[in-house]
């Protein structure tokens, strides 16, 4: 469904992505792990053109695009088939929860208001927030805001949702509610690519794990294999270090 080949990105002298390949099939839940600064966020942002990659090929729905030359129209077309959930939610602060969800439907997709509202209410219901639809973001907890952001993402019926550390900005007691929504989406077959430090999510929910370090993918394996039988020494060390953190 989606394939990225040899994507490269530098910020000034610093090469953050050194030729990364990713392949995502429909229904995959790909967890992206790796130490801080390894380029995980940059990879996701490049894939949705929030950052301009220096080089690379994107294959989306059978069509091939070059990151260097892709035009505004194609970017808009691909963005309408994808969604993005940010670490700090990025809800529209002047819109209610419901309006946050309908905005992309009414404004970007020219959907009739009544229909958009119906879809948005269903999306909010799914994330357990139908009773908060008329609240503004500042009237919601972090966990609720992130669930609105997820509702906003699923309402457009995307082929894939990118998540960039969706629980990292949350207080520990609010992480669970967001993860459980994500787990539910995964069970329903939503295609997802999730940058995360939640090792249990990677272990129990994701179907594949990608391990990044220094702008490269060190290991890319089915989830079970990744945790039970990692090939790379660095991967083993990383899994061990995380396991230790979790026992503290």
């Amino acid at each position: 469904m989606l394939e990225v080949k040899n994507i490269k990105k530098s910020f000034g002298d610093l090469q953050v992505l050194k030729g990364v390949d990713v392949r995502v099939e429909k229904g995959d839940v790909v967890a992206v792990l790796g130490p801080s600064g390894s380029g995980k966020t940059t990879l996701l942002r490049c894939m949705n053109f929030l950052e301009k990659a220096d080089e690379g090929i994107l294959n989306f729905d059978g069509e091939e695009y070059d990151f260097r030359t892709i035009g505004r129209k194609d970017i808009a077309k691909i963005r309408k088939k994808t969604a993005f959930v940010f670490q700090n939610y990025n809800l529209f602060r002047n819109k209610t929860a419901l309006e946050n969800v309908t905005e992309g439907l009414i404004v970007a997709r020219k959907m009739p208001k009544a229909k958009a509202k119906e879809i948005a209410m269903a999306a909010l219901e799914k994330v357990g927030l139908s009773d908060r639809s008329s609240h503004y973001p500042h009237e919601l907890s972090g966990g609720q805001q992130q669930r609105v952001a997820i509702a906003r993402a699923i309402a457009t019926n995307p082929e894939i949702i990118y998540f960039d550390e969706p629980t990292s900005a949350l207080d520990p007691e609010l992480i669970g509610e967001v993860l459980s929504v994500m787990r539910q989406l995964a069970n329903e077959g939503m295609t997802m690519m999730v940058v995360t430090h939640e090792i249990n999510f990677a272990k129990n929910v994701s179907s594949r794990v990608i391990f990044m370090e220094d702008g490269e993918i060190l290991e890319n394996a089915p989830s079970k294999e990744f945790f039970e039988n990692p090939k790379e020494e660095r991967t083993k060390a990383f899994i061990k270090s995380i396991a230790e953190q979790h026992t503290i």
């Binding site: 929030l50 990025n90 529209f92 602060r93 905005e103 906003r152």
Partner: protein, 222 residues
């Protein structure tokens, strides 16, 4: 205070207030509206980073903020006729005040637009919205909310600054007062009287600002 002066003040009150309503207020309202249009456009070309226009915007703000408004009035009204541009007093005043105020409000608007977290712009792109749609529906409404108090401040300052238009023969409140004073020699009471009328205008604007802020707050986001 002698009865004569009291009578003069009563008599002149309406004489001053009428040009206030007929000239000062329209001059302020028209100039400020045009200033806002200039300000939003100037702020947006900078935010959108449109090369050429952006430099032009900086140049405009630099020139206008770096020179006195009184000098600008003189240049437009007394200076431009020598190159064939002749404006009546009122339009000349409108031109100068809107261009002058526009430069200050542009900076207010730019700061307000930049204070909207860029993540919301990115989120807008990710749900498929275009730059224009995001500006119009997400960024500008929040920027106006942020800019409302400083913009109100500018509007209040403008009401008072319009008195400078007396220098280019616009028959606004201050000019009218000067004329009466020249006739009657009652400078202190008359200038105090016009000051009071300016104070009333500013107070009304301050009240409007309060009410406006209340409404914006009631509108939910902050």
């Amino acid at each position: 205070m002698s009865e004569k002066v009291l009578n003069l003040l009563m008599d002149s009150f309406t004489k001053i207030l009428i040009p206030g309503i007929k000239v000062t207020i329209p001059l302020t309202v028209i100039s400020f509206s045009l200033a806002m249009v200039i300000a939003v456009l100037t702020a947006m070309v900078q935010y959108a980073n449109i090369q050429g226009l952006k430099q032009l915007a900086r140049f405009y703000i630099w020139i206008i903020r770096g020179t006195p408004v009184l000098v600008q009035l003189y240049i437009v009204f007394y200076g431009l006729p020598s190159v064939g541009i002749m404006l009546d007093p009122f339009p000349a005043a409108v031109a100068v005040f809107s261009i002058n105020e526009g430069a200050y409000c542009a900076e207010t608007m730019r700061a307000a637009i930049e204070s909207v977290p860029v993540g919301q712009l990115e989120a807008g792109y990710c749900v498929g919205m275009s730059w224009w749609q995001i500006m119009r529906r997400i960024v500008l409404p929040q920027a106006f909310r942020t800019a409302f108090p400083p913009l109100s401040n500018s509007a209040i300052a403008l009401v008072k600054d319009t008195s400078l238009a007396a220098n280019i023969t616009v028959a606004e409140m201050f000019m009218t007062t000067q004329r009466i004073a020249a006739r009657t020699y009652e400078f202190l009471p008359l200038y105090c009287e016009v000051a009071l009328i300016y104070l009333i205008f500013s107070t009304v604007l301050t009240k409007l600002q309060r009410a406006g802020e209340k409404r914006l707050n009631a509108h939910g986001f902050n």
